[in-house]
Every structure is written in structure tokens, then in C-alpha cells.
Symmetry: C2
């Protein structure tokens, strides 16, 4: 293993940043803690990423890119898409937290280009599906996307007041898929 490697160090910093920001948010995150987990000096964060805020941006962007890449989209089978979204966040709950922090702590910040572009392409795809009559026209494309996203992540966004009543992952997944099917029917 090399002693010095900028790319490797950057990647370690990014991974540590995702972990810390997902757990504590921007204001709650501690730069020192990120450096410690990344196994490097704090000054490296500033050399590579500018400052705390820019480091958050870099971490969130990396997280979003990976999510978009892994989950994909399919207007022809929206229930299955919802199931994949559910699976992804069930496996990576920290990514959903990161996204929530972003929404709360960057209220006025201009939206991420990557997300805007992906949303547009998805809306287009949905509208094509509507013209082809394979997607319900009862809701607008934006509404549909919003509803599906909300349903797919419904469990993760609940306040933790259910405790033992929470069903198993299998049951929860089936509920998500079924709910989307009913929305589309």
C-alpha cells in the first residue's frame, strides 16, 4: 500500500464525510471527526475540498450519483422501480438521511444539476408512457413521481413512534409495491 496517494485520500475523506454528515448533518458534523475517521489531517480536507460546506456538497453529490446509477428508472414498470428505491434505502438508510439533511439545511440553495437533469428525463419518460397509455393519466407526471417517491420511502420518513408494531422488511416492501400499483390502477 502506498504511503501517499491523493486520489485514495480524497476517496477516504469523501466516505468519512458521507458517514459523518449523514449521522449529524452539516451543522452537527465535526470536521475533526471526519479527518480522524478518514485517517488524515484536517488540513487535507481544506486542501482538497475547500471548506466544510463544499465538502458536504461533494459528499452529497457523490452519494446521489451512486444512487441514480444503481437504482435506475423504468416508466413501464413503476411498481418495480418503487421496489428498487425501497431496497436501496433499506440497504443504505444513511443515504436517505443525507438527502433529508440537504433538504433541511440547504433550503435556498440552488438544486443539484444532476438531480434536475434526471428529473426532467424521468418526467419525459413518464409523459411518453402516458401517451402510449401504459401509464395512468389520472395524475400529472410530476405528481406521480412525487407520490411514488413518497410511498417508496414512506417507512423511513416516519417518526420512530411505532416501535414493535413495525412490520418486517418483506411486508413493508410488498406494501410499497402494492400501493404504487393501486395508485396506477
Amino acid at each position: 500500500m502506498q504511503q501517499r496517494n491523493a486520489d485514495r485520500t480524497k476517496a477516504r475523506i469523501l466516505a468519512a464525510a458521507i458517514e459523518e454528515f449523514a449521522a449529524r448533518g452539516i451543522a452537527g458534523a465535526r470536521v475533526d471527526r471526519i479527518a480522524e475517521v478518514a485517517g488524515c489531517n484536517k488540513a487535507m480536507l481544506y486542501a482538497y475540498f475547500g471548506n466544510k460546506d463544499e465538502l458536504f456538497d461533494a459528499a452529497f453529490s457523490a452519494s446521489v450519483d451512486q444512487y441514480l446509477d444503481e437504482v435506475g428508472f423504468d416508466a413501464d414498470d413503476l411498481p418495480a422501480y418503487a421496489g428498487r428505491v425501497f431496497d436501496y434505502f433499506e440497504a443504505h438508510p444513511d443515504r436517505l438521511r443525507l438527502s433529508t439533511w440537504y433538504r433541511l439545511e440547504r433550503p435556498e440553495g440552488q438544486p443539484l444539476e444532476a438531480i434536475v437533469a434526471v428529473n426532467h428525463s424521468r418526467l419525459d419518460e413518464l409523459q411518453r408512457g402516458m401517451r402510449r397509455r401504459v401509464v395512468t393519466r389520472q395524475f400529472s407526471a410530476v405528481t406521480l413521481l412525487s407520490l411514488i417517491q413518497a410511498i417508496a420511502t414512506s417507512w423511513s420518513s416516519m417518526n420512530p413512534e411505532y416501535g414493535a408494531d413495525l412490520p418486517s422488511a418483506t411486508v413493508r416492501r410488498r406494501a410499497v409495491v402494492t400501493a404504487v400499483e393501486k395508485i396506477l390502477s
Copy 2:
């Protein structure tokens, strides 16, 4: 107007705390700012509420109590209930933010008694509705409650990447009510 009145001061502090915590969360909130908005000295917060964390608890509890009181519940007409939830958070978006902060920044904290009790009573009501065949038995009571909550707040929990595509409040409300109807059908 009285110059000195403990209850009045407490209420002002609580209102200022809700505002500040909703905007910035626990870690991001500044005690000095709360005191300034409340028009009193910082020491009063500590005299009345102990510390920053306990002040957040008090603020969130007050917010939840008011929400539960205002929105109510009705297992016999869940679409209308979802509409009321939508209306409430459309009128008080800060309350939803407060709730989200709570979920993010209090991951291990034991759930609020008030919410647990209300949830139980709602689950009971839903189950009675199922026995009386006025509520679908396709989903469990917990699942149903979770889905409805997610749908009712779906717009508020989206990341801000839609921009101008966001439909009007009327359209969004109708989508919520219709979606819940379809879930129940």
C-alpha cells in the same frame, strides 16, 4: 400589558424556539437568537427549560400537541383526514420541518408519549373500521397509517429539484386525496 409575567415569557420563549429550531435544527439553532426573538435574556431559557435540548423537547411537544389537537383523525373518512393533514402542513410548513429535525437529530431518543398514545388509539380505530368493513383489509393498520401520512406530506418531503414544475396547492391537495382514495379502494 404586564411588564413581568412568567407564563407570558415562557410562551414567547416557546414560540421563538419553535421558529428557530424549525429553521435550523437543534445543532444549528442558536440560544442567543431564541432569546433575542423572545425578547428576553438568555438566562431565562435556562431558568425555565433547563438547557438547549430540553427546550427543543418542550418546543416540539408543544408543536405536536397543537397539531394533534387541530387535525384530529377519522377512520371513517381517511381521504378527508389526509386532506386535513395536507392543509395543516401547507399552512405550517415549519411544523413539518421541526418534526423532521426531531427524527434526524434524536435517532435513539425514546418516542414522545403523546405520539405513541395517539398512534395506538388510531391503530385501534383503524382496526375497528376494518372489522366493520369500512376500511380496506388489504394493508395492516400500521401500513395504512404510514402510507397515508407519507402521501399527505409527499410534497413537503421532496427535494427542491422540481422548481417551476410544482403544481398549485389546489392540484396538489386533490392529488393527495385521490391517491388515498385509490389506496383504500
